[in-house]
């Protein structure tokens, strides 16, 4: 995606004479050499590791009688030792892709091994503990080997752990275990930062959003929806505030914090729309939703495409919704849009003036 756009832009700049052909080639080569960039070999290696790990898990699940179970335990332990030592040698040689694959097999095999022991002794009711142990082992492995691939495994295990919790407790809130999902999300974000597995970040954010959605199913009240909308917007504004300490932390996290905090706010607004159907409260809610979308575009619209499109979509959906339910009367809705249109036009006029002044200042400084 980004590589395609980069290549197009570079050839455009070369065409305009802004950039030499050699520099453009060197820039593209630098991008391709980054570990996070797409490499077919690396992806196939990861897919192979996932397939092999799944094969191991299924052999365990089949409870195959032909192999005595002590041999099965011994075999899987031998496999764990083998893949970890092989991964260590690969890393020492600099073969990170192969090492990542081996470590994924190692982390998954532990789940197989612990399930095998559960099967041997007919254990039940320990599924949650197993998930905690498995997640912990994956986390330790990801830290010690600084492996992005294992961080991804930990991300998926955090989902599996939450799923096991929901299934075992009929989605009720019981004890302290529900806190494990956000805790695991924080740990996964930590792993992502430490190992550089940028894309695994979304696993943690999606887990948090799923957890919040679950909270709403527990307490279907306006207060919770309002908390999502206000809390989400507050976090979103915080990502745009130029406080030096926060700003550097957020910038290193990319587009995700702004997008996901805005997404929580949008979910909050959506839930509020389900709760509030008419009257002056709907007018306030409608104006607040439109204002939130405009604010989102104003704060992050330029640099954050995901936020921009979510804000466009929210704005458009809100307009259509208000037009279809009609606030009071058709004339009432019309005057609401008239008022909103004037306010947005005023904001647009001020923003354009500010942007002009900024760009004039920037050019003045350069000259």
């Amino acid at each position: 995606m980004y590589r395609g756009r980069l290549e197009r832009d570079l050839s455009l700049w070369v065409g305009k004479g802004l950039l030499g052909q050699e520099t453009a080639g060197a820039l593209l080569a630098e991008y391709d050499s980054r570990p996070a960039s797409f490499s077919l070999g690396r992806v196939l290696m990861a897919l192979a590791a996932v397939l092999l790990a799944a094969a191991i898990l299924l052999v365990v699940a089949s409870n195959w009688e032909a192999i005595p179970r002590l041999v099965r335990v011994g075999g899987i332990l031998a496999l764990i030792w083998l893949v970890h030592i092989a991964a260590a040698r690969m890393l020492a040689r600099g073969a990170t892709a192969a090492a990542g694959g081996l470590l994924v097999i190692g982390a998954m095999s532990f789940g197989g091994a612990i399930s095998l022991v559960g099967q041997m002794y007919h254990l039940s009711g320990d599924e949650q503990t197993v998930m905690y142990l498995w997640f912990t082992i994956a986390t330790i492995s990801a830290i010690l080997f600084r492996s992005g691939a294992v961080a991804v495994v930990a991300g998926f295990l955090s989902w599996a752990s939450f799923a096991v919790y929901l299934e075992n407790n009929d989605t009720h809130w019981i004890g302290f275990d529900p806190w494990m999902a956000p805790l695991m999300a924080v740990i996964v974000i930590g792993l992502v930062r430490y190992t550089g597995a940028e894309r695994a970040r979304h696993l943690a954010y999606l887990l948090l959003i799923g957890w919040l959605a679950w909270l709403y199913t527990l307490y279907e009240e306006i207060a919770v929806a309002l908390a999502f909308a206000i809390g989400g917007m507050a976090a979103f504004v915080l990502t745009a505030v130029p406080l030096p300490r926060i700003a550097s932390l957020i910038r290193s996290a990319g587009a995700a914090p702004a997008f996901y905090s805005f997404l929580v706010a949008v979910i909050g607004f959506l839930l509020l729309h389900i709760e509030i159907e008419d009257g002056w409260r709907l007018v306030v809610l409608g104006v607040a939703t439109l204002a939130a979308s405009v604010l989102a575009i104003a704060l992050h619209g330029r640099d954050n495409g995901a936020v921009r499109y979510l804000a466009y979509a929210t704005f458009a959906a809100e307009m259509l919704y208000l037009a279809s339910v009609t606030v009071g009367s058709i004339l009432g809705t019309s005057s609401l849009f008239l008022f909103s249109g004037l306010v947005v036009a005023l904001v647009a006029w001020m923003v354009i003036r500010l942007e002009r002044r900024f760009s004039a200042n920037a050019q003045g400084e350069r000259a």
Binding site: L77, H84, A87, V117, Q119, H122, G125, I143
Partner: protein, 196 residues
């Protein structure tokens, strides 16, 4: 700390990481195996009546659900008071052998029960319970509610249950943890269950 991490992530350090991670996994698995094997070899033996069915676990494969007579504990058997508030709690039950050879609940408590001769104390898994009335039964689990079988082998056990008696012999440790020893159809063990 960071220099230690840097050392780990280079040359020989990776080998140390490998040994730590694989060693830790071995240790966890070994601990679980040993704790279970020790209940099997040293625990007190009890025999329980069941009624199985046949689902599948994603990771552990086919199993037979075991629903015991002692899974349903009458509130009347509770001694030492019933907690008034709603919450997560653990139940200790005292089992005693009946004339037919099966063991049944004679007493239960939300506090640890003192040992008595010819009885075995079993500890339930933590469970969530609301307000309890005198005539109620409590649903409790002991961590022995599944018997894993080789793929596709659950049906015969289910059929055997319909014809005769399926019983489970269980070993119980001193702290009340239960461990399945064998599944019996008409008094005979269906599978060998070695210690390891």
């Amino acid at each position: 700390m960071s220099s230690f991490m840097a050392k780990l992530q280079s040359g020989k350090g990776y080998l140390l990481s490998a040994i730590i991670v694989a060693g830790l996994q071995t240790l966890i698995l070994g601990t679980i195996i040993q704790s279970r094997a020790s209940i099997l070899s040293n625990g007190a033996e009890v025999l329980l009546k069941t009624a199985p069915v046949d689902p599948r676990d994603f990771l552990r494969g086919d199993y037979v659900v075991l629903n015991y007579d002692i899974s349903s504990v009458p509130v009347q058997t509770v001694s030492g008071g019933i907690p008034a508030e709603v919450g997560e709690r653990v139940l200790w039950v005292r089992l005693k052998k009946q004339e037919d050879g099966f063991w049944t609940v004679t007493e239960s408590s939300f506090h640890e029960l003192p040992p008595q001769p010819e009885t075995v104390i079993l500890r339930s898994l933590p469970f969530y319970s609301g307000a309890l009335a005198a005539g109620d039964n409590m649903r409790v689990e002991y961590g022995i509610e599944r018997y894993y079988v080789p793929e596709g082998k659950g049906k015969p056990i289910e059929e055997a249950r319909n014809d005769g008696n399926v019983a489970i012999s269980v070993r119980v440790s001193a702290d009340g943890s239960a461990q399945i020893r064998s599944l019996l159809v008409d008094g005979k063990a269906v599978y060998d269950e070695p210690l390891y």
